[in-house]
């Protein structure tokens, strides 16, 4: 097991957890529109599948926030 800090909360997770697996495990709503940072670095969406989390990583999920008048 390893410890990650996800959205400010420390929890145990299985070793070699991928980022998509974490997103699924955390039941993130509208995951296609979530930006992810690991240790304050933004992860490119195309890199999600290859991203394997490490013990001690800090992960944040940020929803895209935008809109318009149309």
């Amino acid at each position: 097991m390893m410890i990650l800090t996800v959205a400010g909360k420390k929890k145990n997770y299985p070793e070699r957890l991928t980022l998509p697996a974490l997103i699924e495990q955390e039941a993130v709503e509208n995951p296609d529109y979530v930006t992810v940072t690991i240790n304050d670095a933004f992860v490119e969406r195309g890199d999600f599948a290859q991203t394997i989390l490490k013990d001690g990583d800090t992960v944040e999920f940020l929803y895209f926030m935008g809109g318009g008048t149309v």
């Binding site: 400010g8 709503e29 509208n30 529109y33 979530v34 930006t35 940072t37 304050d40 933004f42 944040e60 940020l62 929803y63 895209f64 926030m65 935008g66 809109g67 318009g68 008048t69 149309v70």
Partner: protein, 138 residues
């Protein structure tokens, strides 16, 4: 659902949105939730990276900094806001389409009438149903 905002925070929001004209302005609201009541305790003024009078996108780096600061202060993210420089205070189709977080309030400050700004709050669920939330100035 009701959202409480201090007159001071409202004025901060208003000044930010007025200073951003003719473009839309935006920001985040952090605070506390108690039952059906949210209370704004800190307002974050963010950059509209679209620099447009008809669109806004929040700067993700500023968004991250705000989320971390809010958490450090014991607050939760309770809403966001943006201005409508020339249209009423109601979610546009684009606002609804791009509302991805059903847990937060979406506040819209209309500056259509420059001397009569109108702030309203909305909930937008995953099916894009819009609910009007009461804004209470404290």
């Amino acid at each position: 659902m009701k959202i409480n905002i201090s007159k001071r925070d409202y004025n901060t929001m208003l000044m930010h949105c007025r200073s951003g004209l003719p473009n839309e302005s935006c920001g985040l609201l952090a605070g506390s939730v108690s039952g059906e009541m949210k209370t704004v305790q800190k307002i974050y003024l963010l950059t509209n990276t679209d620099h447009s009078p008809e669109h806004f996108s929040m700067d993700p780096k500023e968004q991250l900094a705000a989320v971390k600061d809010a958490r450090a202060n014991g607050f939760v993210l309770i809403g966001n806001f943006h201005s409508h420089p020339a249209s009423p205070s109601r979610p546009s189709e684009e606002d609804k389409r791009l509302a991805y977080d059903p847990s937060i309030d979406y506040l819209i400050l209309s500056l259509q009438e420059r001397d009569n700004p109108v702030l309203r709050a909305f909930g937008i669920d995953t099916d894009k149903n819009v609910t009007v939330h009461e804004v209470h100035f404290i």
